[in-house]
């Protein structure tokens, strides 16, 4: 069964559909969420409650001319948006959606997700540089320094979860948290989880907001300073791919958070665990992302870097040491 070609094809189509639907309709969710938070209505003309808006946007983006301005580095300029999408979609392979739904049950799926996440950075860097635009280059530099800074505390906190569950396999980590919310890593009482895991969760969540370049950490596309950041020179579907890549990164980040800390596909009170609980969890997390974006104002780049280097990294290092000590004690 594991090697059947139909299984591979089914997962290929299913994951692409999941990625595409999310990338398109999360934009709608974001616009609706932003509108409601700002006491507006948001998209409401196309279809019921504006639900057809993503299709209209897609048609508009695809029918626009693919403009390549003079002075850009042609090849890299065209490749960068594609490079943004590839790792985001590939990451879906390693995510366990439920006990039996998951394309590949890899031994090192946590590592794979982080390896792929670091590829997305290259897309932003190359896209910004190839544009040959000052705003774009400043934005790319900011974005990379931000991503490098937040990758360190993120990896350090993931190590605490890996230490506690003794596995680098997301499926195994999720299985070890089955049986009600008191077994989830974030709320767990046994083995001293309760002392460090909630700190890990907070650090991890802050880092995943920063890693996906979301407000209040969206220094890479700070409209008031940098026009549209690294996407300034991109029009039509090039811009569309960057946006979709950003939303897919949010989905992957939410999946990772749900699996590492919130029990994966487990039901909070022990009833009918399954993919629906996983989807519910990731969409609650994604809603939180949107909620945060439209609630907090943007910070400044040096504050952002100070937060990572001076607060999050020392805290996550201490957290790692305490976790290792707890494993020895209990």
């Amino acid at each position: 069964m594991e090697t059947s070609i139909w299984r591979a094809l089914l997962y290929l189509v299913g994951l692409l559909a999941f990625a595409g639907v999310n990338a398109a309709w999360l934009g709608w969710c974001e616009r609706k969420g932003a509108a409601r938070i700002q006491r507006r209505i948001g998209p409401c003309e196309a279809g019921f409650a504006g639900l057809l808006q993503p299709i209209a946007d897609g048609i508009k983006l695809m029918s626009k001319q693919l403009l390549v301005p003079q002075g850009v580095d042609g090849i890299i300029f065209r490749v960068a948006p594609i490079l943004m999408m590839i790792p985001a979609i590939t990451s879906m392979v390693a995510i366990p959606f439920s006990e039996n739904i998951g394309a590949r049950n890899l031994e090192l799926s946590v590592l794979l997700l982080f390896a792929l996440a670091s590829l997305g950075m290259i897309a932003i860097l190359l896209g910004g540089w190839a544009s040959g635009n000052k705003y774009a280059i400043i934005s790319a530099a900011r974005s990379v320094s931000q991503n490098l800074a937040y990758e360190i505390p993120m990896l350090l906190t993931v190590i605490t979860v890996v230490l506690m569950s003794g596995s680098l396999n997301l499926h195994d980590i999720a299985i070890s948290q089955q049986g009600g919310f008191w077994h989830w890593n974030i709320f767990r009482v046994e083995n001293g989880h309760f002392l460090t895991m909630w700190i890990s969760f907070i650090i991890f969540f802050i880092c995943s907001v920063a890693e996906t370049n979301r407000a209040p950490f969206d220094m890479a596309e700070a409209e008031s300073e940098l026009v549209a950041g690294f996407m300034t020179e991109y029009g039509s579907m090039g811009f569309g791919l960057f946006m979709m890549g950003e939303y897919l990164n949010i989905v992957v980040g939410a999946c990772l958070t749900a699996t590492l800390f919130l029990g994966g596909w487990d039901c909070p009170f022990g009833l009918t665990p399954g993919i629906w609980w996983f989807l519910l969890k990731i969409y609650v997390l994604i809603f939180t992302f949107i909620w945060i974006r439209w609630t907090y104002p943007r910070t400044q780049i040096y504050r952002l870097l100070n937060l990572s280097w001076k607060i999050l990294i020392p805290f996550s290092l201490a957290n790692l040491m305490v976790t290792a000590a707890l494993i020895k004690v209990f």
């Binding site: 090697t3 580095d73 090849i75 890299i76 890899l106 031994e107 090192l108 590592l111 794979l112 982080f114 390896a115 792929l116 996440a117 670091s118 590829l119 950075m121 290259i122 860097l125 190359l126 540089w129 190839a130 040959g132 280059i137 790319a140 530099a141 990379v144 320094s145 490098l148 990758e151 680098l168």
Partner: protein
């Protein structure tokens, strides 16, 4: 994963599982060669770094074929995700975005043939070495070799591991000293 067949006597059919694996293997090798070629021949430094990143990605694929997924992931995470990005970052910060022409002026007629013959010699030597050596077949470590890696890092190679960490610590302190010089 299991399909790294040692020297198949008959070439497998293209549309069998082994054939597909062979095609993917050739693709990864092509990625390495193409990336390396871009890296040495590109005029713009950032393109060269992009080629380097492509080469590293291909190498990760080769590691995967050598049954070491851990090394493959680390190759992606460290070499593509950190080293290539830091190089690109450094180039973007330091040099203006212009094609590099320094070093091209002093080319003489001898440079090309000399470089080619040296490269051909190295290639010939490596080929002879590869073909003549009696290769020892080591037992497979299994799909996840990370436990073995961790155990040997902390027991057999513990001293080396500590030395490397001291070197890294010195590099960090050195970078801090250099970066903070001139600040008040």
């Amino acid at each position: 994963m299991q399909a790294l067949v040692c020297q198949p006597t008959v070439a497998p059919a293209l549309f069998s599982a082994e054939g597909m694996v062979g095609v993917i293997f050739l693709l990864t090798v092509a990625l390495v060669v193409a990336g390396a070629t871009i890296a040495v021949s590109a005029r713009r430094l950032v393109r060269a770094v992009a080629g380097l990143a492509v080469c590293f990605t291909g190498l990760a694929g080769v590691y995967y074929f050598l049954l070491s997924p851990f090394l493959a992931m680390m190759q992606l995470l460290i070499y593509v995700g950190a080293v290539a990005i830091l190089i690109a970052f450094g180039i973007m910060m330091v040099t203006p975005d212009e094609p590099q022409t320094v070093g091209m002026k002093r080319r003489t007629a001898l440079v090309g043939p000399l470089a080619f013959s040296v490269a051909a010699l190295i290639f010939a030597a490596l080929s002879v070495l590869g073909l003549k050596t009696e290769w020892q077949v080591f037992p497979r470590q299994g799909a996840s070799d990370i436990k073995a890696v961790g155990l040997s890092l902390l027991t057999t190679y513990g001293f080396v591991f500590e030395l490397i960490s001291i070197v890294l610590l010195m590099a960090i302190i050195g970078a801090l000293v250099l970066a903070r010089r001139g600040r008040n």
